[in-house]
Symmetry: C2
Subunit: 883 residues, 2 copies
């Protein structure tokens, strides 16, 4: 038997997401549950990957198979493709394994042509409906299949409305729509050079090809990158008998969630439009109606829908996001899926489901998107400031959080300004999928149009970005990059603030305060800790950061960067004196000034961590980073050090590097100037002796001394000798019994390759995956920005290797280091302190290769806790399945 | 039985170099051959490594063992340590596994003290001799053991000569010398704070300790780095009964070679001094006498010596370098070793030995130091220019070759200037081991004092550096950095030229011509090719370089860098136009101008290689390298391109990179601008089609297209698709049957790790070990200069990883790439085109890991041929030994 590329809905089930895509699998599952689903079939994701393997071509075998299923569908529906008397019309919709809302393309009403529409108009007695369907079909087909673009069609509609003196699409008559359909076809012909296809089979194959192609459109690629979806998954295509929400006022279409996706409240939440089709509700062109009103308008339909919602939620054991259409008072389900939700809603829903007895606490932990917690962990507006502030307007509280930034009016500007380090708020009439990158770059999103399920709202919640949607009081002037609200005009660059939890908009900056973990968040974290097996530490350079992280559950510090303390105004002078020294003696004199300050810093950090392990890294950046660049600062430096301007300039020039990333930094500094390592050791150890004396109860207090940028074991041995000699003398002079460890960052490829040798000397490894990624790929993060966009566009990279560990390359180096390292020292302690430590997929990877802990920024600690728990759960589940 | 750390000479043999050092093993071997060798014992290299393992301490066990051997030596010699009546005096000399002439320390006449010397003076009736020995001993001991330094002692000698109105050391009387010995002891006490040791056993242990310590003195470390000698080998110490060359005019000391070390001529070659001791001959303080004169002065001794020379050369089957002492007309051998020689001498000696039936051609190939050939491959003075030039003076032709450079007067200056890219000639009164780095940095060495076996001459020959020694006409003024010769004064920075083959010195620059391979060189190369199994290619960017390399035996081109052609004045304008383009169309227009020029270049290179394979690399450097930096050039560029100055400056700014080494370069350029790759493919393929048409007889002509800086297989696939599509169309349009290959550089760590994936797509790999070394270590070559000296000094690095492949780290990545690569494609072609391709030890490594060829600069091709042959011979020898 040849390979099967097409499945009837009745042939599939909900577990077949990889093959049928999410939408196809759930349509099959709903069919199996005997819910009212218009029938159809799914062309598999394998057909899509074959399409690409065959050089973007649908093989004849697959085309034949599709046509066989059209035959089956004709038999099931008793309708016929292209038959004027009883035409089969279908929708063609994409559906990938992972939900990618709005990212790919949809075509409705396929099967129409001049003959069929005319007959349909007459037989239905509803010519307006027939021609509305027809013009929509031509418009969508032209846009999606032949990429003619849609703006000209919209202009034609506007002209038609203008000519007939009406303002709404719904006011256009059947004749108007018929005329529009003709204009659309003419436009198609003039652009494409051939007639609009009349054969439904030709239309169908064109539409399926277009959906396959849409898998690789730029916004789909960009979305996949954002959500870590592999490019080789492909999309399935669902071909489904049409049902019509635009038959008149007993018809309609809508979307709904079984629970509130913003708050998690257990209450049906949704919107619908009467006499509408397809994307009208989501597109935000007309303002949709609250689902509650359906109870009054069509009570029977409403009751049936509520029952279905209940069935689906129980069945899937999760909150559902559904699409439905009412055709002449009859309800049809077009889609169900686990609903996207805010982080707060996710926590509440998970806890509620546990309390309802629907799921276990382990399942609750597993179901939360760890990345989404980010939204809860970032600052909120200071309530006092909030109370004093007067909103300039109010919209829908579409996605919670607090955002302050400068107004920008295009996605491009948002991205550019954000790339330059600006905080921006993206202000739009309404957003569209093309805006996706600008939305990701913005601190907050404000729209004038659209409801709680509008594109802006859905996407912002998914991203954890604050969003206020549908503020109809805004007078937008996108062209001149300004808007009016509350009687004032705001231009590009003006500061505004958004409160995504209340929908309030402020014409000013507002101060923020830190988040705390409590309530449902706390419950989920407690459950996570129950299942988690890997330690979570934090990267913190100050007592304040250390405290915040400890509050978030950090079990130690994985990285304290000592150099951040050097930039302090009170210290930079001593640092510069050290750099400008001509002799070791001068350098030691300058270092002696810094030592007590460093010691005090470390004491503060140890105190904040209350006896938990603290890893301190020795000086890392190249020395030129500490020198002034402005002429007058250079002059001041010269005066302070009794040197001539030229002498100071000569020092600055001598420290210039061609490739600072690959220059005189890390352990290389201390190899040239061992007195720096000696000073830092004294500060670390003296602080530890003091703190241990003050807190004898902190029995396991062991500072971990970390040497950066080791590439060769002899570098490590050279510095370890200095460290150990200095430390042991201080400890013995103080009559202390302090224990400490000496280890290294693993961030140079050669260190991974020679990790067995290094581990014989180092007591712990901490992966510095930022540098390791740079060195393994041979590009620096600062410079790669120039070409990485080309890499995404050309699908050479699917995700940012600085955000998510490149498991194939960098990850293989890490595994090598872990395996060799444990050969060199069986009880080697292994951690990671690169930024990847807070990325869930990277945390899972770290768990899989056997690290003892991950360390991340304080605000990412809860994310890492959850991700580590999920990694352990997923592993134990796999063991249950496979062993 | 406890471990044995000491061997009598009679207990060892010539194969025990690793344990006894070269000197010790050969003293043992000579003892076994019944040659006249003063007896003694060797403290092993293992004792030295144990000394370092024990924290620079000689264990009591070893001290006891040494004392046991002193007892044995006392019995053998019938003398006693410290016995005034019949004192045993010894020399203590270092001797490592590899010969390191002058690098470590020697102490003579150990065992003397006030009592012994007085008795010796009386009993011998030669008090001058006794006190000469004594003052020498105190001087050497103070310098070597306690590092008091020798300059003050020399001042004391000068004062004594002045006071007594004499000019030569030999004119000082016994009383003068006795007084000096006392002054030396006083000086010792004032510096060290205790009396000069009188107990010979204390003296001995101090001396042995000093020799061990000398293994790690800076000049020894530097020498080891230059000659790839591992730091963990350690040195042995030879303790030998003294014989005295300073007993009077029937005594003397000398050094000799069995053949001429400069030319290879089969004729005894050497020098001696009567009434002298130890280093007097080598140090160049008195001018030594040609060994031929010994035939007249002491015919019996001469005959005996000639016989011994013959025995030793036959025994060792190689030219010998010997030290001898004549004590009261009796000959003693103090050392023999395979003599250092110039490359030309090495070739002649090897060929002569084959012709004499002493060795096989295979042994001849194995015995040449491949690195040394470099000296023969570099340009010589143009004979016409040489004939026209008038020498300003003449010295000894101490080391052949031609050198033109600017005069400098200290080793430090030589190094500094050379680091800045200057060609320098080091001009010195005489050189000393401290000068080693400056000598290595200089193009040529000129000394006013010293003979053919002086330090300058020996070291320069070893390095293959041109040297003219002992030009006594020079009036040196080192303090004012100038010298007078031929009536003119030459100051620091003045240009001079040296002819190391004639000894002529010129006060000007002289033009040079290329070397050719012929005579003995050609014979050795032919033999090498007979045993060689690995291919040798060259890196050549021009038809001229390609021809030179082919003349040297290159079997193809491993790397043609296309960008060097871009800098040509006629092309840079078009390149800049390309870089300043705003659109793809503009860029293509500019590229179209470059295409015919590139095509012509490639045709020339193909023609020069006459059908051998040619590997062409696509554009590699970041684009900003092609833009002007001077204001007026920028203005000119703006005018030429009809842009404003600010627009051009903005382009330059936008191309600025933080770490250009890790920036937008290599394949990344062509991914952003595929039109560059398309243009280069057209030029490569069109040139190849033309050349193939013109030369149908070149049947195996296959251009190899090489994409640089691949880190991820998808980069390669993206560009390969463009290359193949472009190439195939041109070939089919031309009706040609041209074959070509598409492969990649392997120079990014990630490429090594994912080599299996890459090899499924790439037909060949060429290791770019320069970049691979940079990325694997995480330091750039341009910046590492700042700290690598610290690394050598602190013994973290023993050799320059950019000169010699780091086999432990970078080499492991290469092995990984080879193994994974062959998994991905069994017939994958593997080569190397980094600069390491011309380094013998790296060539051997490449052979060992299974590369098909190495590619190096044209002048290194013969070196690579020889090194590859030696690698194959050494492997087959190992197979014979190990089965």
């Amino acid at each position: 038997m040849s390979h099967k590329y097409v499945y009837l809905f009745s042939e599939g089930n909900g577990d077949m997401k990889a093959l049928l895509g999410g939408k196809g699998a759930n349509l099959a599952e709903m069919t199996n549950l005997n819910l009212p689903v218009p029938q159809g079939f799914t062309v598999t994701t394998e057909a899509c990957t074959k399409y690409y393997d065959d050089g973007e071509d649908i093989s004849e075998d697959i085309q034949r198979e599709i046509m066989e299923y059209i035959d089956k569908l004709e038999q099931m529906t008793n309708k016929k493709f292209g038959d004027a008397e009883n035409p089969l019309l279908v929708s063609v919709r994409s559906g990938a394994r992972a939900s990618m809302p709005g990212m790919m393309d949809t075509i409705l009403n396929l099967g129409l042509n001049d003959t069929v529409v005319e007959s349909m108009a007459q037989k239905s007695g509803n010519p307006r409906w027939a021609y509305d369907c027809y013009r929509r079909f031509i418009q969508m087909y032209s846009d999606v299949v032949t990429e003619v673009g849609k703006s000209y069609f919209e202009e034609l509609i506007d002209e038609m409305k203008h000519k007939n003196n009406v303002s709404e699409d719904t006011e256009l008559t059947a004749d108007n729509l018929k005329e529009l359909a003709q204009q659309f076809k003419d436009e198609y012909k003039s652009k494409i050079g051939e007639d609009f296809p009349v054969d439904p089979k030709v239309q169908l194959m064109g539409a399926i090809r277009a959906v396959f192609r849409s898998w690789n459109n730029p916004r789909a690629i960009s979305y996949r990158r954002m959500y870590d979806i592999p490019g080789d998954w492909g999309t399935a295509v669902n071909v489904q008998e049409m049902v019509f929400g635009n038959l008149g006022d007993t018809s309609g279409t809508g979307v709904a969630f079984t629970r509130n996706p913003a708050t998690g409240e257990k209450k049906l939440f949704g919107e619908y439009l009467l006499n509408a089709q397809g994307e009208d509700v989501v597109a935000g062109i007309r303002t949709p109606i609250d689902i509650e009103q359906l109870r009054t308008v069509m009570p029977q339909v409403y009751d049936e829908f509520v029952k279905i919602c209940d069935t689906l939620e129980k069945h899937y054991r999760d909150m559902q996001d559904m699409e439905f259409t009412i055709e002449d008072s009859k309800l049809f389900m077009l889609q169900t899926r686990n609903g996207k939700r805010t982080a707060a809603a996710a926590l509440k829903i998970a806890c509620d489901l546990v309390d309802e007895g629907a799921i276990s606490d382990k399942e609750a932990v597993a179901m939360i998107d760890a990345k989404s917690l980010d939204a809860l962990l970032h600052p909120q507006f200071d309530p006092d400031a909030l109370q004093a502030a007067i909103p300039i307007g109010n919209g829908l509280a579409a996605s919670p959080g607090a955002a302050t930034g400068r107004a920008v009016f295009t996605a491009d500007t948002a991205k550019k300004w954000a790339d330059n380090g600006e905080q921006v708020i993206l202000v739009r009439l309404e957003t569209s999928p093309e805006d996706i990158e600008g939305m990701a770059a913005a601190k907050g999103i404000l729209t004038a149009r659209g409801g709680m399920t509008s594109h802006a709202a859905v996407v912002a919640r998914g991203m954890g970005t604050c969003c206020v949607a549908g503020c109809s009081a805004i007078k937008m002037d996108e062209k001149n990059k300004q808007f009016e609200l509350g009687g004032k005009t705001y231009s590009e660059g003006d500061w505004i603030s958004l409160d995504g939890s209340t929908g309030n908009i402020y014409g000013e900056t507002l101060p923020t305060i830190d988040a705390v973990i409590g309530g449902e968040f706390g419950r989920i974290m407690d459950w996570a800790d129950k299942y988690r097996k890997m330690g979570i530490r934090t990267n913190a350079d100050t007592p304040h950061d250390a405290s915040v992280a400890k509050g978030f559950g950090a079990e130690g510090i994985g990285l304290t960067r000592t150099e951040h303390m050097f930039f302090d105004a009170g210290r930079i002078a001593a640092i510069r004196e050290m750099i400008c020294s001509d002799t070791t003696e001068q350098r030691e004199k300058a270092l002696a000034k810094i030592e007590p300050m460093q010691q005090a810093d470390f004491e503060g950090i140890y105190e904040a961590m209350e006896g938990l392990p603290v890893t301190i890294r020795y000086l890392d950046p190249p020395l030129h980073e500490f020198l002034p660049t402005e002429e007058h600062d250079i002059e001041a430096l010269a005066t302070a050090h009794g040197k001539t301007l030229n002498e100071i300039k000569a020092i600055i020039t001598s420290l210039h590097e061609f490739n600072p990333m690959m220059g005189h930094r890390g352990c290389r500094l201390a190899i040239t100037y061992p007195e720096i390592a000696a000073m830092q050791t004294r500060a670390i150890i003296k602080a530890a002796i003091n703190v241990q004396k003050a807190h004898p109860e902190w029995e396991n207090f062991v500072p971990e001394l970390m040497i950066p940028l080791i590439g060769e074991v002899k570098e490590f041995v050279f510095l370890k000798n200095i460290v150990v000699e200095t430390a042991d003398k201080l400890i013995s002079d103080a009559g202390s019994n302090l224990k400490y460890m000496v280890g290294t960052m693993i961030e140079i490829p050669r260190a991974c390759i020679t990790a067995d040798d290094i581990a014989m000397e180092a007591e712990f490894f901490s992966f510095g995956t930022n540098d390791l990624t740079q060195m393994a790929y041979g590009f620096s993060r600062d410079d790669a920005g120039k070409f990485l966009d080309d890499y995404y566009e050309k699908q050479i990279f699917e995700s940012d290797p600085f955000a998510r560990i490149d498991q194939v390359g960098v990850g293989k180096l890490m595994e090598m280091a872990v395996n060799l390292g444990r050969q060199g020292r069986t009880n080697l302690k292994l951690g990671i302190c690169g930024e990847h430590g807070g990325d869930p997929s990277s945390v899972e990877f770290c768990y899989r290769i056997g690290l003892d802990y991950v360390s991340c920024s304080p605000f990412r600690v809860p994310i890492a806790r959850l991700a580590a728990a999920q990694a352990a759960i997923s592993e134990s589940d796999e063991k249950v399945i496979h062993g």
